[in-house]
């Protein structure tokens, strides 16, 4: 018995350090990149640029919070880019026709919720692969955005609507506030609610979760429904910033969101994911993009650099697990 205890009491000091690094390495990397940019790039720390950086983080950051839940449960959602565009269009069209901001925002959020519910039900109940299911809704919803808007940007006249995108509280722009609230709320949701823990268990081993009494189907449907709703929220904020609903925006946005999550350390195969991974991934992508813009690096090269960083990050992650 005591021999057994001794055998198990292997070196733990090194383990804790290792675990700490595993958990925080991407956050440290984000801070490092921030520090380097601050030192080497003029105007990086200027209030105007910081505000721009914050706004750049906001749309991806909001959508990444719930993408984290999709990925942690072992799925993903490709329809979020279309949902963002369609939400902006729906909000703008409803406001144009009813002149009610309240109704416009509600309609946009309801649209997102319905798309998410459809995704969730098709994936959980009909057992359709998430790639195919959300690839289909991605195209359907994009099409609807064009249909509702007649293919053109729909302008918004209501002043109160611009509060979501251009307002500020205590000097902090509202989109940034919403993003921070999302990080806190969804981080808490993942760690401290049965819904969050069940999400992790489903991603870790769906069969075991089912046998342990977790309501797997319902949890999955909620994951996608919430993701649809939050995607629509990001779309409303974006439309408010641009003062119009544009059916063509957000193409490829879903891949940026997934890249940010994976870059931060969320596992594509499910079961591993924390909100700090998401924050780190979103920050790294945004800071690098911002730095490249300040340095006037050609957009064409920016694609190559972003792709390379993502590839390096996942390779490092893979090596770490050996």
């Amino acid at each position: 018995m005591s021999a057994q205890q001794n055998a198990l009491a292997a070196p733990r000091q090194g383990l804790n350090m290792r675990r700490f690094l595993d958990d925080w390495v991407m956050v440290l990397a984000a801070l490092g990149i921030f520090a380097l940019s601050a030192i080497f790039i003029d105007n990086f720390l200027s209030p105007l640029n910081m505000r721009g950086l914050g706004l750049a983080i906001s749309t991806v950051g909001i959508a990444a919070c719930t993408m984290l839940f999709c990925l942690a449960s072992g799925h993903f959602d490709l329809s979020v880019g279309s949902v963002i565009a369609c939400a902006g269009v729906v909000a703008a069209v409803v406001m144009r026709d009813t002149e009610s901001v309240m109704l416009g925002v509600s309609a946009a959020l309801a649209m997102g919720l319905v798309v998410g519910l459809i995704n969730g039900i098709v994936i959980a109940k009909l057992r359709i692969n998430a790639l195919i299911a959300t690839l289909a809704t991605m195209q359907i919803v994009r099409g609807l955005a064009y249909i509702f808007s007649d293919g053109k940007a729909v302008g918004v006249m209501q002043e109160e609507f611009f509060l979501y995108g251009n307002g500020s509280l205590l000097g902090v722009p509202v989109p940034i506030l919403i993003t921070i609230l999302c990080f806190v709320f969804f981080g808490w949701l993942l760690n401290y609610t049965t819904y969050g823990r069940n999400t992790m268990a489903i991603g870790g081993n769906q069969e075991a979760a089912l046998l342990a009494g977790v309501n797997v189907d319902r949890t999955k449907i909620i994951i996608f429904a919430v993701h649809g709703l939050v995607g629509a929220l990001a779309g409303v904020v974006l439309a408010s910033r641009m003062t119009s609903g544009q059916p063509m925006i957000g193409q490829g946005f879903e891949l940026t969101v997934i890249s940010a999550c994976v870059l931060g350390g969320v596992s594509l195969s499910g079961g591993i994911g924390r909100i700090r991974h998401v924050i780190a991934g979103v920050l790294i992508l945004a800071i690098i993009e911002n730095a490249m813009n300040l340095k006037n690096i050609d957009t064409f090269y920016q694609y190559v650099i972003r792709g390379t960083i993502l590839l390096l990050a996942v390779i490092i992650d893979q090596l770490k697990q050996r």
Partner: protein, 504 residues
């Protein structure tokens, strides 16, 4: 590809050690396995046998020490290096692709081809050659997934032999084989030995060890304990005592219990895997054993009771109330809890911690406002179960995959003990678990029954069923073929009832 393997070479382990995060799996393992002999590795689960085989197969790099095959000193950094040095390890989980044909599996990595186009005929021909004498009846064109587990094992062995490996290691090869397949495997192992190869053999089954092995090395807690070279002078009890480190006269530790009235009554139940309506009942405080051969329908019966498969006819009553069993959640809500046969696939969440795996079931009913996780309650509950069930883990936060099979099983029991339980369904509760942990699990089963829970145990281990059950039902071909009370239970009569016979 094969490097200078001489048939007279022996295999030596030189101070092999392996450390995982938080666990020292092996330390200072040194012993020699001679050519032309079958060398058994024994020890409780978690003793380090499988880890040693993984090091031999190149799946893990050792933290210290090295291997010697003949005069060559080796440390394998990959499976490829191990194979190139003439080693074949046949793991418990077979490394085969179920969707491909037998021939493709056998020739994987070196299919006969021209400009990348596979020559199917040559491949089938070569595959047939490889199977000759081993499993002539297997058609190389069959999809591997259509073969029985035993046949797949033979394919894996054929694959190992195709590389003309000098060292062949078997990790619990007989755990999923039928009696006939075991006979064939024994003959093959005998042949490998006579050809002068080094055969390593890991098994928990004593009769196999005494039958085919020429030497036994015993491990405990990741340490080398002793090698017995003279099997003739070694007694069964001596070996067990060496493994467990204590005498175990009666690991089942059965004591009579008071039965407190009927708990579960099953009437005319029909569903997937059952050919004839099944009826039986089990009382509070009773341990009801289900014995039968693999495929007799016992696992399917438990899955029906656990709500995992829909029943086509019949009723299940608990305390006089008819249960609705449309999902696992229905069964769990009624207090009917299942510990599944395949722990890895259906039991544990491998990425999760021990505490996470204990609390996953009870979390929902202890959450505040239906959704807020009670952190303190969960920590206390995890500590309580770890203590109560003697789960060996450095901390509740340890990832569960680093625990041995027996301790993983105890974690799943702890999960159910955290919840209201009326009927406990155990499917092969001690499969792949060492003797020490088995005894602990039998004790837990006894205590649960004594506290008024109805326990149903499905097992293919005859001694176990007889040892722990108050009453035994035997199943064969999807039907209950007999009922035997504890005092009448005899191996021969149970086996007789379990054997398939053609019904008129």
């Amino acid at each position: 590809m094969l490097q200078h393997v001489n048939s007279g070479d022996s295999l030596r382990f030189n101070g092999i050690g392996k450390t995982f995060p938080g666990v020292r799996a092996l330390s200072e393992i040194s012993f020699e396995a001679r050519p032309g002999s079958v060398h058994a590795l024994m020890g409780e689960n978690g003793a380090g046998k499988s880890t040693l085989l993984k090091i031999l197969g190149g799946a893990y790099a050792p933290s210290s020490g090295d291997l010697k095959i003949g005069p060559r000193t080796l440390v394998f950094r990959s499976a490829g290096e191990s194979i190139a040095s003439g080693v074949a390890v046949i793991h418990q989980e077979l490394h085969l692709v179920p969707e491909m044909s037998v021939a493709e599996n056998l020739m994987l990595g070196h299919m006969p081809s021209r400009f990348g186009v596979v020559n199917r005929r040559a491949m089938q021909q070569q595959a047939r050659e490889l199977l000759k004498g081993l499993a002539d009846e297997i058609d190389p064109a069959t999809r591997l997934g259509n073969l029985s587990l035993g046949q797949r094992q033979l394919v894996e062995i054929a694959k190992a032999m195709s590389r003309n490996a000098h060292v062949i290691a078997f990790d619990e090869p007989t755990s999923s084989l039928s009696a006939r397949e075991i006979e064939r495997l024994m003959a093959i192992i005998g042949r490998l030995r006579d050809e002068g190869r080094v055969v390593l053999y890991v098994s928990h089954r004593m009769e196999e060890i005494f039958r085919i092995c020429d030497a036994v090395t015993v491990f405990k807690d990741g340490r080398f304990i002793r090698t017995f070279e003279d099997m003739g002078a070694l007694s069964h009890d001596e070996l067990v005592t060496c493994m467990v480190g204590r005498d175990i006269q009666d690991i089942y530790n059965y004591r009579p219990r008071e039965q407190q009235g009927e708990a579960l009554r099953v009437e005319g139940l029909l569903g997937h895997g059952l050919q004839v309506p099944v009826s039986f009942s089990v009382s509070r405080g009773e341990v009801l054993g289900f014995f039968g051969l693999v495929g007799a329908g016992r696992t399917e019966l438990l899955r029906l009771l656990a709500g995992l498969a829909p029943h086509k006819a019949g009723t299940v009553q608990l305390d006089g109330q008819t249960l609705k069993l449309r999902s696992a959640r229905d069964a769990i809500a009624s207090g009917v809890l299942l510990c599944p046969e395949d722990r890895k696939k259906e039991g544990i969440v491998p990425l999760g911690s021990v505490a996470e795996n204990i609390n996953i079931g009870a979390r929902g009913r202890n959450a505040r406002l239906g959704c807020l996780v009670q952190g303190r309650w969960e920590r206390e509950n995890a500590d309580r179960q770890i203590r109560a069930l003697n789960i060996k883990t450095p901390s509740p936060d340890q990832q569960i995959v680093y625990l041995s099979g027996g301790n993983q099983q105890k974690v799943i029991l702890g999960r159910w003990l955290s919840m209201p339980m009326k009927v406990l369904l155990l499917d092969e509760p001690t499969r792949g678990i060492d003797i020490g942990a088995k005894a602990e699990i039998y004790q837990i089963i006894h205590d649960l029954a004594a506290s008024g829970i109805a326990v149903i145990v499905v097992s293919s281990d005859l001694m176990e069923v007889i040892g722990i059950s108050d009453r035994i039902l035997v199943m064969s071909e999807g039907a209950i073929t007999g009922e035997v009370t504890r005092d009448q239970a005899e191996e021969s009569c149970l086996l007789q009832l379990a054997l398939p016979r053609t019904r008129g």
